[in-house]
Symmetry: C2
Subunit: 188 residues, 2 copies
Amino acid sequence: MERDVALKLVKVQLTEHRYQHTLGVMETAITLAKLYGVDELKAETAAIFHDYAKFRPKDEMKEIITAQGFPGDLLSFNSELWHAPVGAYLVEKEAGITNQEVLDAIRYHTSGRIGMTLLEKIIYLADYIEPGRHFPGVDEVRMLAKENLDQALIKAVQNTILFLMKKNQTVYPDTFYMYNDLIKKLEA
Amino acid sequence: MERDVALKLVKVQLTEHRYQHTLGVMETAITLAKLYGVDELKAETAAIFHDYAKFRPKDEMKEIITAQGFPGDLLSFNSELWHAPVGAYLVEKEAGITNQEVLDAIRYHTSGRIGMTLLEKIIYLADYIEPGRHFPGVDEVRMLAKENLDQALIKAVQNTILFLMKKNQTVYPDTFYMYNDLIKKLEA
């Protein structure tokens, strides 16, 4: 899909702030895709659509998760996780994106998972470090991202787990699996 | 089993330092058992035997884990975890302890797990806060343990996950299942 067409489809789904974030994720994802030899168009498309479902009503997201047989435990974890798998579903249904790698990069951009593809890693990381992000530790991850994708991801997911624990919030199992998976690959 | 008999059986398995730690865990476990209405004798026995297998050779522990059909993923995680399930097995086989609650408190004293019993929580926590323990955050957990067992456990397991992440080490799944389980109960 042409970039301007994709951006138009997404813009109406988002607030202006979230649209600016999406543009940042797009630029960052393309940069990372070039750096790590990933298809730039797939990275661009996944980045543009990653937050497509962000502002859907919770009830609609719940219905889709149940009706589509997405992991049922999602509903007992933070609703911030829901827009990612719901987004993958809606982007296929409403925007006609059918590439499974792109859809999976949208599906796992918040939780992560075991065995992430390069494209999934790039979208996860671009979402974390795009220029509009400002929080403790983000600069360290930005620097790591230029040198070692997995080490940048480890730091990002560690920060995320730490952030959730500080707020006494649950951590979705896929996020821990992602962490362990990356550590085991680092050790190997 | 009489306390002095149990202590004699354990003393020969441990270094002097680890035996002193065991005495600390025993005293702390009994205090917590009184406070939270748990059978004191079970707490005493589980505490005395919790580190029974701590100094067994790794090869022996591996063999037992495999032969007894303990979770196979244990072997791909930190070997510090192994002495707990192996201990539960050896304590039954060599010391004749047959009470399943006591054996489970030994089995899960390092990893934790989802749905921990009060006895399991007390042994996990006593191991963490006994008077011989000195590390950042332990005093906060000691204070919490007097007021709210689950909140003390949450802080202890958060500290443990943080400690492992700082060293870029994996976190055994049961440990974060324990964390999520306690947080969900806190929210409920």
